[in-house]
Symmetry: D2
Subunit: 424 residues, 4 copies
């Protein structure tokens, strides 16, 4: 199915009056409101191909209907999201789940939906049918050179697929680690991993980036070989200028101060990208902003401060991706909610009075610094975000229109009740 412009226009017509009133009210107190709206229009969040189906836990998976069964349907799904919010204009593919049969056709299809190809994702955390070596004991860290070689080759193959599609980056998330004391020699595991990454790095085109993602635990439960930002930064520094750290919000130990990590990585010129999601206990992969919206705002505050300080462009110079796994909600509704939460946090952070904050910091006026941040966070910026959508040709209320059009019902009719998308 497709959502056409008339459907959106009609939806907007019904809501436009209220939106105009609310936006005007906000504008009264904001001199530079159009600049903020313009930044929101430009901001795009990539959707991972594996988030379009219902995810599972090790205890089970409760699939929904109408899930995309192939790459074309995944692109169509993200096309629906992008038509609704004009903020999801990129797709992040996962190999081998999404190997295109016909690159040109896939590129054309993506273009028709207005979608770019964001970071490519390799998979060395599962064994695929017919694979020569098993990743049971790791991939790039493996004690056996043949297994490492297989993982390296796979990543190089992923780069090749990406080149054909116009992607410019590779995200390497390694499940490598150990579940028991004694299983690994930590140093050798690090060095094997580094050497493997170096071989992949050597195959990277000049205009590509490689993102080294870290994770504290799961699926290994004693150690992870790229376990925290310190380790990731070590790898990225040793690899070279094209290597960066990727921060996934759910990949930290309890109580970690992620916003500080973000600030330091930006300071070092080594922050590459972001995986958005939310969590309470571990890598829970919940809807972005559903558990800790203030933390999300604080992270955006650091991102803006740090990027502006380095003269980076918000919309282009970092990789913005969602990485979630939707167990209970309709995945498309969930993604609409995640993108909305990201835009809200971004808008709030754009509203921070930086001069006032700097002044408060310079005078150790802690109460004032809090007031400045909370002034931005407590502002209801939804009319701003909606305005950005209106100007971009998207729906004022994407979730509402999604339901009005019964998108899921129609996808089920098209694709069936029992489809199961690839993913976790």
């Amino acid at each position: 199915m497709n959502i056409d412009r008339n459907q959106i226009a009609e939806h907007n017509k019904r809501l436009e009056h209220t939106q105009q009133r609310r936006f005007a009210q906000l504008a009264e107190d904001m001199p530079n409101i159009d600049g903020v709206v313009q930044k929101l229009v430009s901001f795009q969040v990539a959707i991972p191909s594996w988030a379009l189906g219902t995810g599972g836990t090790r205890f089970g998976r409760f699939s929904g209907g109408g899930e995309p069964g192939n790459l074309e349907e995944k692109i169509a799904d993200i096309g629906l999201l992008h038509a609704l919010n004009q903020s999801s204009g990129a797709i992040s593919l996962h190999i081998p789940w999404d190997i295109p049969k016909d690159y040109a056709a896939i590129r054309t299809l993506a273009e028709q939906h207005g979608l770019a190809f964001d970071a490519m994702n390799s998979n060395t955390f599962q064994d695929q049918q017919g694979q020569t070596h098993s990743y049971k004991f790791g991939s790039m860290q493996h004690v056996d050179r043949a297994v490492r070689k297989q993982a390296i080759d796979h990543n190089i193959e992923v780069i090749k697929h990406g080149i054909e599609l116009g992607s410019k980056s590779l995200t390497v998330w390694l499940a490598d680690g150990s579940s028991f004391p004694g299983q690994l020699n930590f140093r050798r595991a690090f060095q094997n991993t580094l050497e493997s990454l170096q071989e992949v790095y050597a195959a990277l085109p000049a205009d590509w980036k490689i993102f080294v993602e870290y994770k504290a635990f799961e699926p290994n439960f004693y150690s992870t070989t790229v376990g925290d930002w310190g380790q990731s930064l070590l790898y990225a520094s040793k690899l070279g200028d094209k290597a960066y750290t990727l921060v996934d919000l759910g990949h930290h130990l309890p109580n970690a101060n992620i916003e500080q990590i973000v600030a330091l990585l930006l300071m070092e010129g080594k922050l590459g990208g972001f995986h958005f999601n939310d969590s309470k206990y571990g890598d829970d992969d919940l809807t972005t902003g559903s558990i800790k919206p203030y933390q999300l705002f604080l992270i955006f505050s650091e991102l803006i401060e740090g990027m502006d300080n380095r003269g980076m462009e918000h919309a282009k110079d970092l990789g913005w991706m969602i990485d979630a796994s939707h167990n209970l909600k309709d995945p498309l509704e969930d993604l609409l909610q995640s993108v909305e939460a990201i835009l809200i946090a971004y808008a709030q952070a754009l509203l921070i009075d930086r001069n006032a904050l700097n002044e408060a910091q310079a005078t150790n006026d802690v109460a004032r610094a809090q007031e400045v941040l909370q002034q931005a966070f407590r502002t209801d910026v939804r009319p701003l975000v909606a305005e950005a959508r209106l100007r971009a040709g998207a729906a004022l209320n994407p979730v509402q229109l999604y339901r009005e059009l019964d998108v899921r019902g129609r996808l089920v009719k098209e694709r069936g009740e029992k489809t199961v998308a690839t993913g976790l």
Copy 2:
């Protein structure tokens, strides 16, 4: 110093125009806005006497100036807060730090400031000068009956002070526990504590409540004898109808779902009161709402739902107290910020569309349930809270007026630069 009505009126006059506009804008979308404002007006948060001075950590204490040196000055400080926000109309005393010399005079002074006496707090976690027995190894749990007796007697004495002042409740927070495996027999520690509490309970007037506060760790670092809500509920159930659990937001293990605890305690009819603060790592005692404002909102959502379900009155049927320790901010500014954050969370929770939420829950419409909650949370309710203040005769912007009047500067002049209030 005092803040008189004219100063407040003048301040409000300057801000009133903007406030009226913003309130009117909010009112356009809210049919029942006056009911909400009225609930906000009624809501009072008790201020603990020990939060009026700069707190410290075990690594040091950086006192500010003008701190209250006696009970009269503490009452005066809370009087200032209450004059500014009309939401801090109660004081929670701590014995022996706040033993009144003249009950009638203290009652009169409090009345002059419009303050009631909230829960009384005993102290068996420190040794006082001249004390017969040490609490080094606990108080109510102690293996030595004489030490337990001393702790019991102290609590009964605290009740007596409270009776004289018109308080109606006793909060018992015990530091009792152990720092090393083997130090305690857990069962005997529990039973000693229970028997001690029973003796205190027996001395409780008919119209009093006793709050059994729990805490996961600190100052003991292996076990705590009232360590979690399950233990507190066991004590409260064995004690009787006048015994309740008290929830302090900072007293949990990492990632605990406090809002669920609140809901279950209300279900059991055993939630007695609240200690508000915020934290990232442990009992950090930071400004309420400064770290996890969404959690605070979710807790208020459960409080309202549960209290309404039991036919409880929001403003009266639970003990609402702040318990924080202000290391870096001016304590009075900090308390104004905390009360503001509490009222904002309360207001947001009052705006939740309960019918829509019930319906979403009844149909497992998880995405919709989230929309309903976030619709309330994302609303900028500050004009509502300010309106409540306006109607109650308080300042539209308490922190701003506090600074305009240079309250701290005047307190320093009155009391000196080197005063150190009792507290942590």
Copy 3:
């Protein structure tokens, strides 16, 4: 395959000399060594049927070979373990994975291996083929009475299977909970769950127990409806005398003091049983004793103290079960290691000088209390545990004999390389 007595005798003959020497050395310092050995001989740990195959995480599963494909093979596997260590004389079944076709035949088979049927486990955390209602949004907590009824009926059916096999208890672990704020009304979820449990309880034979297992998180990531020991105890208390709390070591928030929970549940007469495993981050389901052996010892110390205080029999009055999920090791080797670690912790705890500990506690001699505990923990009790095996007709070194006999190789030959056992 079977392991016959001759194979064990031959293995023991080779190791016996060293064992005798080491045992004699230990005996020199221990007056009551035979009593300890006798307790070790009596102690039996039930093996769950789902731990016999290689487990997985949500990121993948790396199966090994020779895994049992049906109930008969599972019994055979546990028979092998029991032959090797004579401490694994019970099996804990999981329905519907282990529905017997012929009760009498299964009972006979189990008897041949010397195995009893321990607690039966129901499964309402997954949807089975052809199931009428889905457990996607919970089972016993579900808003729809029909779903709850299905879950109740399933549990009653599990009891019936158990009766036929001679089991005497039902373990109910519920994945019920929520992953997003607002999804559940906590109170109604609790009450629905309680009513469902009451219906199951009503179907419980007079000599059965029901174990209500709690878990802090996973597979739900916001709340769990039986989330901690406090909640489990509430259910168990409301259900009645046959209801108990079951403690799984991996089901707690970070840093929880599990040994204190054990002591308090014993105090209340409500500890029903144990699920042994180990973990660093969450419900990691690692080999018992592989991460925190001292914690395991402290738990056994509380178990012994509390059971002795209530006059309970160690070997009979609690349910002792392993609950692990073996991702990387041969499951049978892993189970042998887990049972060994449990017996070691039990033996160490039996060696604690209780009089000295009581005296140290009575005098707040914290350093001495630690010395007493560590004196037991630091003792190398492996000769004691081995002696118990020798006396019971088991192998002195079960893992070593398992490898010498190439048990896994022979199972692979019998059953094939690609078998996948039911489980997680």
Copy 4:
């Protein structure tokens, strides 16, 4: 008071027979036992001057009697420890608490007790009497250059004291950080801190090291400016070859894998030293080995593996210090227990069969790797540690002799009941 050789000899005579028997039994299974004993003899752990008095929490301090009131008495206390165990042959001073009045006299006194001067510790986390600028808002990170300068000067002064005493290293632990979002610009805080450290580094003698200690939280509760090993490594790398990371066991987020951090820092040539203690919740500063002895063993396993790999000398090439704060125990007994636990973990780690472990790792034999580690950990190495003491002229059972000689009672008589040592 002093402990003379005769007292020790007499004590040893009584215990020697049993010790000889146990040592001989151990020796039967260990070919290289003398090499291990020799390493234990050489291993020395520095005692911090602030651990000799009873520590406190922010809730209170329960001092014991006979605490050292000046530097001379602190040296005497450590002299007692060293006489008892011959493993505490160094003292770590804290400035300004321990400023010597007469360097030569202090050096002579230390020599008389056989003590060396280990790392010097600066203090910029507290304000001292008469200090020009306050550290309330940080020291080396401070927005005001004058405050930073004061902190730098203080550290340089500490180096000067150290030079006079023969110390060779400076430990810098900074409490710098923030307690509220917005308080700090993380990047500027980092850069200020780096520049401050660079000025201190410039004043470091050629043969000195500077240890940059990290800590996740406390006394700041939102961010710490040297917050984790990644940050510390960044500073140390930017500073130069004389700068190293110092690991304090209690300074991590929950569940951190400290042994992996140790291995990676050794790999990078940047591990400088260790602060031993133990903890369950945060920086609990409990007796080493009292909570997680297996973790301590695993850390020593990595230390040995990594140091051997780099050709480092165990006894000399890292700084080994205790950093604890003894609230409940007699501080001297506590330190004896801590040193004992460290030696036990070291001895166990020395017993690991490295060839077998390497082989297990090379073949992904996870169960075997665990067996190899646990074989060492489960061995009762106390006779080894005692033998090392015997050969070094120390007491076979230091805690027992400490009590037999009533050391504390005699110190109380000498120094009085009400002394309070400097410290936390």
